[in-house]
């Protein structure tokens, strides 16, 4: 693969260079009013807005609220998703029984069902967290299931031959064997949960990045909208770094890991 190992350094520099070039172009285009500046503020304005929102406004507080919601939801939805996914990937009967229900529940619109959920679970924290949790449940489940199914059968044979109990197989074969896909699920799940967190905040919360997005639209301060989107993007980058860290930690055999 690494025929002519392109300078590692060069590779790391390219994305920032592209980014800066793009921003430069945008700055030019918007300053020239080629795009309407009402809806497309120059990047420098967005950056200074970001700075203002951080220092004067409570951007970081909002960010903290969103991240808390996101992580709580992800833990509450992703981990059950992973566990059920392991069972479903591992055992044909479990898969046969659960998969139709999973398939049917997956597309139930989460945000639209929120009011119904609020009747059952109240108007507070629980309902808001449930939709976020449900959102990451599915990618975790489906990826874990696919990940377990691709584990070579010989590893199950070896484990059984070594006298592993079902729990041990789960912990020492199913889980590590599916890790690369569980981690892809983590990445997808965290992002979906983030989207749903924002949507929930847009509707209901008085804190969070989603609230800021709503506010930006309502007041038509488009530069604030972009500033919040940049914040969301930063969360996205953190998610990637986190998943990458997990990969390098738990997938030692993927020599191509050091991305």
């Amino acid at each position: 693969m690494s025929r002519h190992e392109m300078g590692e350094k060069t590779l790391l520099i390219i994305p920032p260079v592209i980014l800066i070039a793009t921003l430069g172009c945008l700055e030019f285009i918007t300053r020239m009013e080629i795009l309407p500046s009402l809806f497309f503020p120059p990047p420098t304005v967005v950056v200074s807005t970001l700075y203002r929102m951080t220092t004067e406004g409570a951007l970081l507080e909002h960010l903290a609220a969103t991240v808390t919601r996101l992580l709580t939801g992800f833990v509450l939805g992703g981990i059950p998703g992973m566990i059920l996914g392991m069972m479903m990937g591992w055992s044909l009967p479990v898969r046969r029984i659960f998969d139709p229900f999973i398939a049917a529940l997956h597309p139930v619109p989460k945000i639209s069902s929120l009011p119904i959920i609020m009747i059952i679970f109240g108007i507070g924290f629980v309902s808001r967290t449930i939709v976020v949790a449900v959102a990451s449940f599915f990618p975790m489940l489906i990826n874990t299931m696919a990940g377990v199914r691709q584990i070579h059968p010989i590893y199950f044979d070896v484990a059984q031959n070594c006298g592993a109990s079902r729990l041990q197989v789960l912990r020492r074969v199913v889980l590590p064997g599916a890790t690369p896909f569980i981690l892809a699920g983590v990445r997808l799940g965290l992002n979906v949960s983030l989207s749903i967190s924002l949507a929930v905040e847009l509707l209901l919360a008085d804190k969070g990045i989603g609230t800021l997005i709503w506010m930006a639209w309502q007041t038509l301060r488009i530069e604030e909208l972009y500033a919040t989107i940049v914040t969301a993007a930063a969360v996205g980058i953190s998610i990637r770094l986190f998943v990458q860290f997990l990969l390098s930690r738990f997938v030692p055999w993927d020599s191509k890991t050091r991305t």
Binding site: D157, V158, A159, Q160, C162, Q168, F250, W253
Partner: protein, 258 residues
């Protein structure tokens, strides 16, 4: 203890219906016996081992075990033809896996494993992951794992196939040492006729697919045997005999395929 295979038959499900891999396979492995299994490629040797290990249900027939108290030893341990070394565990963890499953504490299992890792010549590689090993090294990991498991029955599917002649010899000596010291039963699949004769109390020679036991040859060599001394008249005689059978079986299956 001993075990007996009775009229085993296996038909694999395939797209095009079924593939008859084994038919009417019966044999017994008695207490402390070392039995070798020889046969043309694809005749069902691995399939037999998987059935004995309880990893595959035969389509017909059964395996009957006569055990008397297991002393906490696992019933059987298998060296898989494809090694089956976990890529997500380093060499030490791979070798210690069976002990870990039996709840042996970390310190103790590392000590035991360490000993066997040394014997297979991988002491420098305890912390390495399988993708950093050569094929032969991975095979040795899987051998060490089976030895560490210390089972009553050792099932070995071409365990030394990827090792150079000399390393293979050392491993075979180790195997014989363990076997004679602890009096296990060994069912040993190999492609090397000489190897089978040198190691086994009996050699079972199989037919081509669908596999049956064609001949059950008792090896009259005394123990302990010198694995380097391959030119004894008895050995050569048996070798020739087996060779003839094999030739017949392979020729017919190769021709049948044309």
């Amino acid at each position: 203890m001993s075990f007996e295979c009775r009229n085993l038959a296996v038909t694999y499900k395939t797209q095009s219906g079924g593939l008859e891999a084994l038919t009417d396979v019966s044999f017994t492995v008695s207490k402390n016996e070392f039995v070798c299994l020889l046969g043309p490629s694809g005749c069902g040797k691995s399939t037999i081992l998987k059935i004995v290990a309880g990893l595959l249900d035969p389509t017909a027939g059964e395996v009957i075990f006569q055990t008397q108290g297991t002393n906490g030893k696992p019933l059987n341990a298998m060296v898989f033809q494809e090694h089956g070394v976990f890529p997500w565990m380093n060499v030490l963890e791979n070798v210690a896996f069976g002990l870990e499953m039996r709840g042996v504490g970390r310190q103790e299992r590392n000590e035991i494993s360490h000993k066997f890792i040394e014997r297979v010549g991988l002491a420098h590689f305890e912390q390495s992951y399988p993708h950093e090993l050569s094929v032969g090294m991975r095979q040795r990991v899987s051998i060490a794992r089976a030895f560490v498991n210390d089972p009553e029955i050792l099932l070995m599917d071409e365990p030394f196939g990827s090792l150079d002649a000399m390393t293979k010899l050392v491993m075979m000596e180790e195997l014989l040492r363990i076997w004679s010291a602890e009096k296990k039963q060994v069912l040993y699949v190999t492609h090397d006729i000489e190897e089978a004769i040198l190691l086994g109390d009996r050699v079972l020679v199989m037919t081509g697919r669908p596999g049956r036991i064609r001949e059950d040859i008792r090896i009259p060599l005394p123990r302990p045997r010198d694995l380097r001394d391959r030119d004894k008249a008895e050995i050569i005689e048996i070798k020739e005999h087996i060779w003839t059978i094999l030739e017949e079986e392979v020729r017919s299956s190769l021709e049948g395929s044309q």
